[in-house]
Structures are given as C-alpha cells and as structure tokens.
C-alpha cells in the first residue's frame, strides 16, 4: 500500500470512489475561441477542473534580451485563480506556477514551428478557474487548442494526460483524493498523431510494468482528448463554411 494506508481509494467492487473504472478518464469538454480580444483562446473542462487559455502573437519579443535570432520564444504564464481551490491561493506567481509555466513552455516549443518566427514571442496565458488535480495537464490541453485557434503553425496538437497508482493499482486520470492520497502520479504531454512524448513528470515510485501500464492508459486517453480538441476547433467554423471566394 502507500503512505496513507488507512484511506480507501478503491471500492470493494473494484471501481474508484467516483464510480470510474481504473482506465476511465473524467469527462472532458472543450470550447475554442471564447475570448474576443485574444488571437486565439480555449476553454477546457476536465472533470471539475476548468482552465481558460488565451494566446497572443506572434509579436516582437520584449525585452530584447529574450529574443532568439533563429526562432520564436514561447512565454507561458500558468496561474491559478485565488478561488480555484477550497483554500484561497495567494494571488501572483509562486514557485509551483513558475515551474509549471516553464515545463509547459518547453512542451509547447516541441510542437510549435518556432523557427518560422525569428525574434518573436508567442504569449500563452493559462488561467485555472477551478482545480481538482491534474491542472497542468488541463492547461496544456487548453494551450494547444488556443494556439491552433490563433493560427500558429504546429507539427501536431498536444494533449496533457495523467495516470498514477492508488492502492497498488494503476489508474488513469487521478482526481483530487487519488492525487493527494495515492502513491504515484505520472503527467504526460503527448503528441496524439505521432505518439511522441513532449513532457513527462513523475511523482512517487512506479515499477517498469506499472510505468508501461500508465503509458498505455495515457496514450489511450490522449487519443480521446485529441478527438475532443479537434471537434472543438472544427465546431467553431462548422456553421461558418464556405471558405475561399
């Protein structure tokens, strides 16, 4: 078992506390283009998590010292709203949000064709309005949709998903109780068409077999979320068809 042996996370019938199967993810809803001022935007509801992402740019990178002569820089700002959790979060950047901003930017750099926009900056603002475990993954999913909505060229979409271990069992998409009292958490950023991994973090211990099961679950979930992302993007223009002249 884990460090919190007295907390039961799996029911006697083998299902999880919220009634999900071990390889079942929470419900995901995505809307694209919700913010009129932004070049691209997205709203993602993943279980009880809600994230909003806005993309601005490409624009001239300021200050000049952050400019790269051969590519664009991606400036990600991940932030949790003070009211997103039951304990109020002190507004502003903290160590955690700084870390998540950095890893998200690095994950996005591997899909965005940054070499097309030398000396520029692409601003990605992720705001978590409601948090219930796995917000970095939700933020990444939202950022991909917002970037595509902004018309920024990308090699592929990117999907954030997590798997983990509770009571010695590998499960997909941890909720709050499972994240807090479980044994391991493995968030990943997956390029759904190629199956490449652009982002991976691990909290806790997993054996090789358990890791492989996590990977399998994550890949499966990534395909499902990818379909929802594409649907959201296309739905926005579905009634606006005609194209060309």
């Amino acid at each position: 078992m884990g460090g919190y042996g007295d907390i039961q996370l799996l029911r006697d019938d083998g299902l999880r506390l919220d009634g999900r199967k071990v390889d079942e993810m929470r419900e995901v809803e995505i809307e694209a283009g919700i913010l009129p001022a932004a070049d691209g935007s997205a709203w993602v509801k993943h279980g009880l998590n809600i994230a909003v992402c806005a993309v601005y740019g490409p624009m001239e990178a300021h200050p000049r010292k952050i400019q790269r002569q051969d590519r664009a820089v991606i400036d990600v700002r991940y932030n949790m709203a003070p009211f997103s959790t039951s304990d109020r979060i002190r507004p502003g950047f903290n160590r955690r949000s700084r870390e998540i901003s950095k890893v998200t930017a690095e994950a996005l750099e591997s899909v965005v064709l940054v070499e097309r926009y030398p000396r520029s900056k692409i601003r990605v603002e992720i705001e978590i309005l409601a948090a219930e475990a796995g917000t970095r993954c939700v933020g990444l999913t939202a950022a991909a949709v917002a970037l595509a909505d902004a018309g920024i060229p990308m090699r592929d979409m990117i999907v954030g998903v997590a798997a983990g271990k509770i009571e010695g069992t590998v499960v997909l998409d941890l909720d709050k109780a499972e994240d807090n009292y479980g044994q391991a958490d493995l968030p990943m950023g997956i390029l759904p068409t190629t199956g490449e991994i652009a982002f991976l973090q691990m909290d806790g211990d997993l054996s090789v077999e358990e890791f492989n099961t996590c990977l399998e679950y994550n890949m499966k979930a990534a395909k499902e979320i990818h379909a929802i992302q594409i649907d959201a993007l296309k739905r926005r223009y579905e009634q606006k068809m005609g194209g060309g002249v």
Partner: protein, 230 residues
C-alpha cells in the same frame, strides 16, 4: 452547413492531421512533409493547386512579404526614419530615402508624426523579419482623412472578390474610395452615408464572411446602398 455539403474540395483540417501522401505533390503553406505523408500545420481548409497541397488558414497573423500594399500607423519617429505598425509581429521601417518628401535631418516629424496613417508598400523583408517600407510609387501617400478598420487576413479575398469584382461594386455602391491592404486594414474615404454603408458591410463581413451565403447577403445590402447600385 457541414463540410461534406459544400463539396469534397473544402475540407477543414487541424494541425497534425494527415492531408495526403507526399509522393508527387509538394507541401505548400500551412503544410509539412512528415515521413511519407503531408500533414497540416494549421487549422484551415485543404487546397490542391498545380501539384501543391496547402492549407488555407482560417486565422493567421499577417506576415509581410515584399511587394505587399500595407496601411501603416506611425509608432515612432527618428531624425531620418519612421517606424510604422503594419499589423504584423514587427514594425515596418520607412527610411527617408524611400519617403516621397525631401526633409532636413531631424525634421521628419513635420511630414508625418506619431499616429499618422500611411499607405506604403513593403520594399523588402529579410530573414530576421526586418521590414522595410517604401512610399515611392503610384498612389502611395499619407492618408489624411477617411476611416480605417481591421479585418482578419482570410477575409481579404472575400472583400475583394474575384478580380476585385466585389470591391469595384462596393466602390460604386458606396461612392467611396476604398483601399483593402494586404495587412488586413481597410481604408474608406467618402461621404458620411457611404462611410456608414461601408461600416455595415465590414460588420457583415466580420460576422458572415465565412458563410456560403455571404455574397447574397452582401447583394441585398448593396440594393439599399446610397449609390443604389446592385
């Protein structure tokens, strides 16, 4: 209206989606060869023309190319050059040598100050995306009066129409001078009625520019135009 109803050639794709085999065709804008397939890099409609497979994006930032006609807004003035916002990621630079006036060193402000609007052409764009503008050419000038509005890049061709047909009809209907610049800015100069009409047209374009029935809606609007020409 769904994609299939509009015909097979209009397929909406998202980044990463395979749009065809890489053999025999080249990848154009918004497309990339990955292995044996061509994938889309942008959200947009697939187009195949002369053996080039490309994606016409539904939303894109303006990327200046040499020869583009642009409407710029002066952002800052130096002793012998102007910097203009051309609606792209970088400001355009207009040196004194490419301006239509002869002014003394330090007196650039007398011809064009911050906030003034100019009609210019892109002289050149280098690999680091430095944009040089020119105002030497027929019709290139400072725009002293009129109304400027912004439309998204993919609607430019819709406003112009095939061989500028729509634009010509609009000019006649509104009795205004209209310039649709490559950088998504539209300049309208004319009487108050014509300007108000054009404002309505641009609002319609923003709302329904993507739809198949846009031309019909526009025609209905033009029947009620001050010029009265359909």
């Amino acid at each position: 209206m769904s994609v299939s109803v509009m015909g097979a050639e209009l397929r909406l794709v998202a980044p990463g989606e395979a749009i065809g085999a890489a053999s025999g065709v080249r990848a154009g804008t918004g497309a990339l060869i990955q292995g044996s397939e061509i994938i889309a890099t942008r959200l947009g409609w697939v187009q195949q023309l002369n053996g080039v497979l490309s994606v016409d994006p539904v939303n894109a930032a303006y990327m200046p190319r040499s020869g583009d006609l642009v409407i710029g807004v002066v952002e800052s003035v130096r002793n012998n050059l102007w910097f203009a916002d051309v609606n792209g990621p970088f400001n355009g630079l207009l040196p004194m040598s490419l301006a239509p006036w002869k002014v003394e060193f330090g007196a650039a402000r007398e011809q064009m100050d911050v906030g003034d609007v100019m009609l210019a052409r892109v002289q050149e764009v280098d690999e680091a995306h430095n944009v040089v503008l020119t105002m030497k050419g027929v019709g290139l000038r400072r725009l002293k009066e009129g109304v400027m509005s912004k439309i998204s890049m993919n609607l430019i061709s819709r406003l112009r129409g095939e061989n500028d047909q729509t634009l010509r009809a609009l000019k006649e209907a509104s009795d205004c001078r209209i310039i649709v610049a490559e950088n998504g800015r539209v300049w309208v100069d004319g009487g108050p009625e014509g300007t108000a009409f054009m404002r309505k047209v641009i609002d319609l374009l923003r709302e329904q520019g993507h739809m198949a029935n846009f031309s019909q809606s526009l025609e209905t609007m033009m029947n009620d135009a001050p010029g009265g020409v359909a």
